[in-house]
Symmetry: C2
């Protein structure tokens, strides 16, 4: 059972796009996948074109048994949705005197034997839910736009992760995924080289800028359903292969 | 004295790029401007190429008098920086039993007579600091990338703002600024038309996709300093004119 958080505090780098399309790619390859949305924006459900009545906040609060919170979004792809009720979950966690960082882990661990992969989409920023995700997973996949501000954000984020590793030593920033790669832009290539220098073989083959990726959410479809022959589908299939390779 | 928050919960839509370049544009026009960074990412300081030792968190906590927390970043442009110490500020606010939402307002109001404009850069997400900003300002400027997920984020955000207006009736979502406009992409034009239909004359002239805007932060310069003849400089000069027009 592999647990992967898709996380970077910098906003708009392709976290949700990556979490949803990777989860779909792994499910298409026959793995049993749980996609957890820890963002109040609730965009994973929108990208999949589904509208679950409940999700992770209701599961953690004990309002619902797991079977009612889990939503079958696609064959072999189950969604535990996010949404505005997560704000309440954040308050519950911040009022705990100890162990608040393990709240999500305590709620998800009983589901471990049902899935081969758990993929978690996190919100931008460094908030209590993102920290909760990092105490639950073993692997982090960080999408990073090939832009100066995003790379600076990555260096800050890697430092923050180190402070968590002191309390959770299995956690590793395993994959750095360059996104919005645009060969027309000289800077893209330069920044990619910088990433490879700092993060070595953790750097995955980049996801190219592909307008189909920004259109698919409007139809509630994954990139594989919306534009199976697009560069976006190709690049996310390659990412899926890379993740499966390490099984 | 005008107080403007640059805000949208969706990440990566151009909030910091807009806050910094608008603040610089207003300062170049001779106004006394305070730029406040309410994001733990601390990117406003990086974009201006400065490294203040303290900022808004130290001001609110009472550790420093205003004169030591305010940083002269450019002529007529003063910065009150953000950074990781804001996480402590969030904790202070969430432990208050009442009035937490006015913490930033209480700290900034004594500075009102020193400035003509206060521009606040907010973090992605809907957190206690973003809410604090909305209780302080009268006007919201919302940058929104011309993409499906960002526009959905805007509709959610506008709903959240309404719940604050019940307690702060002068607050108005005054400007909607389309960003990343790329005439090569058919979708851009379609989404722009949708925005104009929903938000009418609040929609500003769009900021075009311009690689110079993503390069300037690497040199610690505003777009007016880095590439004064670029489309990015033109578009942010036009935005500045629009804001000044309403004085
Ligand atoms: N490779 C790509 N090519 C083109 N558009 C993309 C690509 N990846 C993502 N997008 C689009 O860019 C925007 C940002 O992506 P996304 O929402 O996945 O980022 P995020 O990191 O999850 O944002 P947030 O910080 O708000 O959670 C979306 O509109 C998405 O459709
Ligand atoms: N019009 C534009 N053309 C090209 N690049 C842009 C444009 N506006 C912003 N950028 C770049 O896009 C990225 C996102 O912009 P920015 O960081 O300002 O967004 P943000 O909303 O502040 O993000 P966050 O949600 O993380 O705070 C940055 O790398 C920035 O340099
Ligand atoms: Mg997201
Ligand atoms: Mg920002």
């Amino acid at each position: 059972m592999r647990k992967i958080a898709v996380a970077l505090s910098k906003g708009g780098v392709g976290k949700t796009t990556t979490a949803v399309n990777l989860a779909a790619g792994l499910a298409d390859a026959g793995r049993r996948v749980l996609l957890v949305d820890l963002d109040t924006q609730d965009q994973a459900a929108r990208m999949l074109g589904v509208d679950p009545a409940a999700g992770i906040a209701e599961l953690v609060a004990g309002d619902l048994p797991a079977d009612d919170a889990l939503f079958p979004a696609r064959e072999k792809l189950t969604l535990l949705a996010g949404g505005s009720s997560l704000a309440g979950l954040k308050r519950i966690i911040s009022r705990k005197d100890f162990g608040g960082e393990r709240t999500v882990s305590d709620a998800l661990t009983p589901l471990d034997d049902r899935f081969d992969y758990v993929v978690i989409d996190t919100a931008p920023g460094w908030d209590t839910l993102a920290i909760n995700a990092l105490f639950y997973v073993d692997e982090i996949l960080t999408p990073v736009a090939l832009e100066v501000l995003a790379v600076q954000g990555l260096l800050d984020f890697a430092r923050n992760v180190q402070s968590i590793q002191r309390y959770h030593d299995r956690l590793t920033l395993r994959y750095v995924l360059p996104t919005f790669m645009d060969r027309r832009v000289k800077k893209s290539g330069e920044i990619l080289a910088q990433l490879e220098e700092s993060f070595g073989d953790r750097v995955c083959a980049p996801i190219r800028y592909n307008v189909r990726l920004s259109e698919a959410p409007g139809y509630g479809q994954t990139i594989f359903e919306y534009a199976p022959r697009s560069s976006g589908a190709e690049d996310y299939a390659a990412l899926t292969e890379r993740i499966l390779y390490h099984e």
